[in-house]
């Protein structure tokens, strides 16, 4: 064995110094020159030979030969350096040493040939968003590379990440190219977000306490018309429809009169009534991070609460319960790393989370739809007699819908755990280690609700035909009912995984070899039938580099999923990549340029997320029953055919090519650029286009769709530290263009109807070319038979010149409504003598949106409401505004003509936003030391302070919030 190694070493140009003692000494420090305590220094290949840096950052390690050593800090940073025993090593741990975790494997940027983006805790903590996913959203484009629904991995196992507190996260790495995503087989093709939580470091202790108080200000709430504007609009619409008006001039004056009976002439701003002007939230956070010689720990207690946006005047109305939207969450985490022996490391990761939510019994959708959809002129919140107001037409009182329908409460309990045992086997073979890990997560949400009905009063005016005096006729409708109690297990899922891994990591002088073999099984077990998913991975990886100059990596993943057909459960995902660090070549001699690396990768990964068990087999399911008997007999059973099987079920395959470069210059500038091309095939597409519905059952889909995605990403960072002043500026830009190659659309009557060659999610619609001026215009134009057309209705272009407007006149215009093509952003900040500012700007463009919210954009029809957007912010068609109108005439009738999918309602979805602003001050340490505090920071943050929309689409559902946070943080 030794002989072979000797021979190998000889061939590879290595000189072996047998059995000589080499003393390696050095000092570990951070970029600012501060010594780092508790870093692990270990010999590559014989990692049991290790030591820990002292308080001043120094260390001494005895070895027998010239070799590489690894410096590892709290499992978050790692640096590999050559140690030949000559002089003192100066080891500076900087951001290029950040461990980029890919789940089953990790890499640092010097060795990296994958396309990855990583953000670390510093950046995440600066963000003003309360939730991690929101914070990350600002920092990374999550719908990257034309795909959405990326896999989220936390500490190596697929998990939900929305519940995590920012303080427990060490880093987030996004896996983009084939080499990285092939590791995740058919879960990886849409990209993978790997979250790594914090861990302790040796011989150190850090306690941190922080408190944040936040307020949220609702923004982007639609402004609905007041009572008299509404009444005028309804009259205008009825006149347009050729129907008698509903409100007399007296009615309209009464809506604005202080003396008119509010039961008959109400003017209610429902949205203003429903919401208070701000929400409040608090967060208390306590972390303990550190360790001794053998045990390291990171522990966190995080408590969050949020007091909702609803008006307390109404949420406490019932007295017996509150319907305020409140949430509370408590995270308790303990991450332990124990060196059981010199060669055995056990890592525990435990997170418990308790959460509670409260809110009205009515759903958010019902609340918002009623607040927006009920006109201010409909009825008062309360009638003069103190009952909820209502009328026969609308019946739901939007405020009673919040205050008096009961409440719903949810109670979430979650436990996440994994254990990983890493055994160094260098006593068997140098560089060999084995790892076994198991994860078990259990997540359940219990729901409790009590619901009730409420009594309301309907007031209708009665006009005395002779005197003209208006009196009201009041009738009580509905009844107050008792609270009806229900409770349920709203959702539960158990996920577990088990993994075994053998790793071989060795250097032979200037040559490094890393290889691993991984076996992994995952089970996801949610409530319900046919929902359990099982997956299995057999992964082999190999990486080689020569002097850190030529890099080569290989991944092969034999991946199986329970969703595929019997006997056909496995697919193979290979990937290969190469890197060339030109700046390390001897011919390359530039003082200014610190690094220039070229990277290329090619390979495959898949996506099985939208497969179903039912796809590959035919099931018969219970029908609704049928009675075949005389007299009063209930139904007998019935059975019907389930969905037809798909001919050949296979996961989506993403074949990805990535070309990239990393450049560093002047010790301050970093530029990373990547260009990519992906062919996504085997997409599950509908068979409807080619198979007739005469089949009599839902036409099965087919895995034959193909899309192409190509684009590029570039980011440049300038980072200068001339203490006491330091600053940074970063700009980034990404472009991704999607194109449908095959979608099984079948026959199309005209070329322009084909979706092939267009972006995925491309907007299609009729082309609005103005409004009909008069009856002659209608007569002389192609027939539009969606509904009876009158002057002021939208006029469409007859694309095929067949004299009528129908689905054959639909054309592509604008961009995709699914994903923007371009994301861009800027980060900048500075710090001077403890005072600092961070700014994060973000924008998207090449994106289309469709305005289709009833009442807000589509007014009055089917007894809906109308917004100021329609009435005041735009020009609707009337006889007087013919020339300048940009919206069609008002109408009360279901006007299908105007509300076709058309360019009338398509808008530019671009925006540019100041996503995050952070202003902080670190109290001078000279001051804080006196009271035993290492450092203390006060800060104020805000998100979404301003956003410039090309077109501001109102958010349906919960109103968007601008949040402002004030925080205080101590480190001990």
């Amino acid at each position: 064995m030794n002989k072979i190694i000797y021979l190998l070493s000889f061939v590879l140009g290595l000189t072996l110094t047998a059995n000589a003692q080499i003393k390696i000494s050095g000092k570990v420090s951070d970029q600012g020159g501060q010594p780092i305590r508790g870093a692990l220094i270990q010999e590559v290949g014989t990692s049991s030979n290790n030591t820990i840096s002292k308080e001043d950052g120094t260390f001494v390690l005895q070895t027998t030969k010239v070799n590489m050593i690894d410096v590892v800090l709290a499992d978050a940073k790692r640096k590999r350096v050559l140690a030949n025993g000559d002089g003192e090593l100066k080891i500076v741990m900087d951001e290029s040493d950040v461990i980029e975790n890919m789940g089953h494997a990790s890499v640092t940027s010097s060795r990296q040939t994958q396309a990855l983006t990583t953000v670390t805790s510093d950046e995440i903590l600066k963000n003003s968003s309360v939730s991690v996913s929101d914070a990350i959203l600002g920092l990374l484009p999550l719908n990257f590379r034309g795909n959405s629904s990326a896999l989220v991995v936390v500490d190596g196992f697929p998990r939900d990440w929305t519940y995590l507190a920012k303080e427990e996260i060490e880093s987030v790495t996004v896996l983009k190219d084939a080499l990285a995503t092939a590791l995740w087989g058919a879960r990886g093709a849409n990209g993978v977000i790997c979250v790594t939580t914090k861990r302790g470091s040796y011989n150190s202790k850090k306690i941190s306490v922080s408190y944040v108080h936040g307020i949220g200000l609702p923004t982007n709430i639609p402004q609905m018309a007041d009572a008299s504007s509404y009444a005028n609009a309804v009259n205008e619409a009825l006149t347009n429809d050729g129907l008698p008006v509903r409100y007399s001039p007296t009615d309209i004056t009464n809506f604005t009169s202080a003396t008119a009976d509010p039961d008959l002439y109400p003017n209610v701003n429902w949205l203003k009534q429903a919401f208070r002007d701000h929400t409040e939230n608090n967060q208390l956070n306590l972390t303990f991070q550190g360790g001794g010689n053998r045990i390291r720990y990171f522990s966190l207690i995080n408590y969050k609460n949020d007091f909702g946006i609803l008006n307390p005047k109404y949420t406490e109305y019932d007295g017996r319960f509150s319907t305020q939207k409140r949430s509370y969450g408590l995270n308790i985490r303990t991450n332990l790393d124990i060196d059981v022996t010199k060669t055995t490391l056990v890592k525990f990761t435990l997170l418990g989370k308790l959460s509670q939510g409260n809110g009205p019994y009515s759903t958010d959708a019902s609340i918002f739809n009623n607040l927006v959809g009920i006109p201010s002129a409909a009825f008062p919140v309360f009638t003069q007699s103190g009952l909820w107001g209502s009328n026969n037409l609308f019946s739901t009182n939007p405020i009673a819908n919040i205050a008096s329908t009961g409440y719903g409460m949810s109670n979430g309990q979650m436990f996440q755990s994994d254990i990983r045992i890493i055994q160094n086997l260098s006593m068997l073979v140098n560089g060999l280690s084995a790892e076994a890990s198991v994860s078990y997560d259990n997540n359940a949400t219990y729901a409790e609700s009590q619901s009730k009905n409420y009594a309301y009063q309907v007031n209708t005016p009665v006009v005395n035909s002779s005197t003209g005096i208006i009196t009201k006729n009041s009738a009580q409708r509905g009844n107050e009912s008792a609270l009806a109690f229900t409770t349920s297990l709203a959702n539960q899922f158990i996920t577990s995984a088990i993994e075994g891994k053998v790793l071989y990591d060795r250097t032979f002088g200037a040559n490094s070899l890393v290889a691993s073999a991984i076996v992994r099984q995952e089970t996801i077990f949610p409530l319900g039938r046919n929902t359990t998913r099982k997956r299995q991975y057999f992964v082999g990886t190999a990486g080689y580099d020569f002097q850190g100059r030529y890099l080569l990596d290989l991944v092969i993943n034999q991946y199986g999923t329970s969703l595929l057909s019997e006997g056909d459960k496995f697919r193979t995902y290979p990937a290969i990549s190469a890197g060339w660090v030109i700046s390390k070549e001897s011919f390359f001699n530039s003082k200014a340029l610190d690094l220039l690396k070229l990277r290329a990768s090619w390979g495959k990964s898949g996506y099985d997320g939208n497969l179903q068990y039912e796809l590959d087999r035919q099931y018969w399911v219970g029908g609704s029953g049928y009675t075949l008997q005389d007299g009063n007999v209930s139904a007998g059973g019935s059975t019907r055919e389930g969905t037809l099987p798909v001919d050949y079920v296979t996961p989506e395959t993403g074949e990805k090519l990535n070309l990239g470069f990393d450049l560093k210059a002047f010790k301050k500038l970093t530029i990373v650029g990547d260009a990519f091309y992906e062919r996504r095939s085997n997409i599950l597409v509908s068979g409807n286009g080619v198979i007739s519905k005469a089949i009599g059952i839902t036409v099965p889909s087919i895995c034959t769709g193909i899309n192409d995605i190509k684009g590029y990403e570039i980011s440049a960072t300038w980072n200068e530290d001339t203490r006491p002043f330091k600053y940074y500026v970063q700009g980034n830009f990404s472009f991704a263009e999607t194109k449908v190659i095959e979608n099984n659309e079948g026959f199309v009557a005209y070329d322009y109807l084909s979706k092939k060659g267009r972006a995925v999610g491309q907007f299609y619609g009729l082309q609005a070319i103005g409004y009909f001026n008069d009856l002659a215009d209608i007569t002389n134009s192609p027939a539009q038979k969606f509904s009876i057309v009158k002057p002021g209705d939208v006029k469409y272009k007859d694309q095929n010149n067949d004299g009528k407007i129908d689905q054959n006149d639909v054309v592509a215009s604008g961009y995709s409504t699914a994903l923007p093509e371009i994301y861009y952003g800027m980060k900048l900040g500075f710090e001077y003598k403890g005072f600092g500012v961070d700014v994060l700007l973000q924008g998207i463009t090449n994106y289309s949106q469709v305005l289709n919210t009833p009442s807000v954009y589509w007014p009055l029809q089917n007894n809906t409401n109308i917004s100021n957007w329609y009435l005041n912010d735009n020009i609707r068609w009337t006889d007087a505004t013919k020339a300048t109108a940009n919206l069609p005439r008002l109408s009360t009738i279901n006007n299908a003509n105007n509300f076709q999918n058309s360019t009338q309602w398509r808008v530019d979805g671009s925006y540019f936003s100041l996503r995050n602003l952070n202003v902080y001050y670190n109290l001078p340490q000279s001051l804080t030391k006196k009271i035993g505090i290492a450092n203390c920071q006060v800060y104020a943050r805000a998100n979404n302070l301003f956003t410039t929309y090309q077109y501001e689409k109102f958010d349906v559902g919960n109103p968007a919030l601008t949040s402002i946070l004030m925080g205080l943080k101590f480190n001990f």
Binding site: I421, G560, G623, G625, Y626, Q629, R640, G689, I697, A749
Partner: protein, 574 residues
């Protein structure tokens, strides 16, 4: 090394502890699907009881004419005609404004329904699946299997006849398709389609028993097959298909998908023959007869409502019981089914003479005189009449009364049929009659009249009238007058049973469609203990009929199917 072994054991122990021994599998075995209760085709046809459940689902595909959100957007087919208004605010009344791309839920009839268990095409598929597989069942006799297959065939014919009435000749589906089959199925000519339906019915009738025991009530019988044949042939003989010119020019007309291509009197004869065949079988085998106990009002109610009454020849039992979920009183009261004065005025006086508002006695006492009903008894069972017994009290349809429709544009009446008194039908077991015996009689009468044998027609019309206590029709009418009298009798007998719509279309009655632009209502005012009546011409949003187009006689084929370019030629005018 010792250490290594020690830790390997520890690791293994922990792994086993965590994952639980019973779940620990490796390789393909691990990737097995967890147990579920899904049934395979083999299981479904392994026992008679399961096979019968498949057939029950085939029966379930039979349509219901009552309002549900699943069909025609809550509306009634009657609401397209002059009989009724769907005037509830907020209802999307876009009949006549529909296009070939209107969604199936807003169409009066759905051929292609993705839900899998409703709609003609899926009913046909399920029927063929049953026919193709039932022979595998071990515990059924051959004759049982043959009868059940024949039942399934009649259901295929029923759906095909409905498609014929709404679309004309359609592709003839003769087996259950696989996605890989060739779908290049052309539409059939109207003639070929009728012959296919009739051929299937004849085959089924040869196997089916004339009637079934009460325990099998609701099943298809030979009588069903023969009555359905009468309906199909009568429809085919009507001028929509049987005329010198097509109702509208177009490719589908040129290819004779939507008419025969000429007028042939023999088509009426064929309908008459089918009717007489039924009458012959009935006289030989008995069983079927009109419900007639001598109490006309109760008899008429029992005739359309009661299971096992030997008058209903085929019915749909979509639902188990009448509940508010699909047959909502609330919907009625808000104006979904507001009967028009046009409908009410069609009901004659009890002595058989026509009602007229110009007759002062009629106008003063249109419904009751001294508390005694003055009109055809069927009126009081079809429409809620002011002051009639209703919901355990007197109906209050006057302005301000409890039953005054709150939002309807048609005041004064609301539908009573199927709803009855709003209370006693709730919870009753559900049945919607698709063919009742009177249809055979009235069809024979119509065919006789068209064959210039009008004098023989009265017998059959009067059989129906007598059950309701009405005197016979005045004899000696000319052909056109008698034809109109028969169409009117259809209204009196079948209002809210989806006959009027088809009658108007097959007789190309654009004149009656035109009247629906100006339908009338009745405003009843209570003055002291008596009532005053004011006829009101109401505003109805049926703007369609101001520009009525004959294209409405047949519905558009969904554009998505036409666009697949396999031979679904669009109907004229769409």
């Amino acid at each position: 090394m010792k250490l290594f072994i020690k830790y390997t054991i520890t690791i293994s122990l922990i792994l086993i502890l965590f994952s639980g021994c019973e779940d620990f599998k490796v390789g393909d075995q691990f990737l097995e699907k967890r147990v579920s209760t899904d049934a395979t085709l083999a299981k479904v046809y392994s026992k008679k009881v399961y096979a019968e459940e498949v057939l029950a689902e085939v029966y379930r595909s039979l349509p219901s004419g009552l309002m549900t959100p699943l069909k025609f957007a809550w509306m009634l087919l009657e609401g397209v005609t002059d009989l009724n208004s769907n005037s509830k605010p907020g209802l999307t009344f876009d009949y006549g404004l529909q296009t070939s791309s209107t969604g199936p839920a807003n169409m009066p009839y759905t051929i292609f329904d993705d839900k899998g268990n409703r709609g003609a095409i899926s009913g046909i598929r399920n029927a063929y699946l049953f026919i193709e597989n039932v022979d595998k069942v071990p515990d059924m006799t051959q004759s049982e299997k043959d009868i059940r297959k024949a039942e399934a065939k009649v259901i295929i014919a029923y759906h095909s006849s409905d498609m014929f009435r709404f679309f004309g000749g359609m592709p003839w589906i003769n087996h259950s398709y696989n996605p890989t089959d060739n779908f290049k199925t052309q539409r059939c000519t109207a003639a070929a389609y009728v012959d296919s339906i009739v051929g299937l019915l004849d085959k089924a009738a040869a196997v089916l028993p004339w009637s079934v025991a009460a325990a099998d009530d609701g099943r298809i019988t030979k009588a069903t097959a023969m009555a359905l044949k009468v309906r199909v042939l009568l429809f085919a003989a009507s001028p929509l298909f049987n005329d010198a010119a097509p109702y509208l020019a177009g490719e589908a007309a040129d290819k004779k998908y939507v008419w025969y291509g000429n007028y042939d009197k023999a088509r009426w004869q064929r309908a008459l023959d089918a009717g007489m065949d039924f009458i012959n079988q009935q006289s030989q085998n008995g069983i079927y007869q009109l419900v007639k106990t001598g109490n006309p009002r109760a008899d008429f109610q029992a005739a359309y409502f009661n299971r096992g009454n030997n008058e209903i020849l085929i019915s749909s039992r979509w639902f188990v019981t009448h509940t508010d979920n699909y047959f909502a009183n609330g919907q009625f009261e808000q104006g979904v089914a507001a009967s028009t004065l046009n409908l009410v005025d069609m009901f004659p006086m009890a002595d058989g003479t026509d009602f007229s508002w110009d007759n002062p006695d009629h106008a003063a006492n249109p419904f009751f005189k001294n508390g005694i009903p003055v009109r055809d008894t069927r009126l009081y069972e079809t429409v809620v009449i002011n002051d009639d017994q209703y919901a355990g009290r007197k109906a209050q349809c006057y302005v301000g009364g409890i039953d005054y429709i709150k939002f309807a544009r048609f005041d004064g009446f609301l539908c009573r049929k199927f709803r009855q008194d709003m209370v006693t039908n709730m919870g009753k077991y559900f049945e919607y009659p698709l063919i009742r015996l009177p249809e055979v009689y009235l069809s024979i009468a119509e065919a006789l009249n068209e064959l210039d044998r009008g004098a023989e027609a009265y017998t059959y019309i009067n059989m129906v009238r007598q059950r309701s206590g009405m005197p016979g029709l005045k004899t000696g009418m000319d052909k056109v007058t008698l034809r109109n009298a028969i169409l009117r009798e259809n209204v009196l007998e079948y209002a809210y049973e989806e006959h009027r719509f088809h009658d108007l279309n097959r007789w190309k009655r654009s004149d009656i469609y035109a009247t629906t632009a100006h339908l009338s209502g009745l405003q009843i005012n209570k003055v002291g203990t008596s009532y005053t009546y004011q006829k009101i011409a109401t505003v109805d949003p049926r703007l369609t009929y101001e520009n009525f187009s004959p294209r409405l006689y047949l519905q558009p084929i969904p554009i998505a199917e036409v666009q697949k370019n396999y031979g679904m030629v669009q109907n004229p005018g769409w």
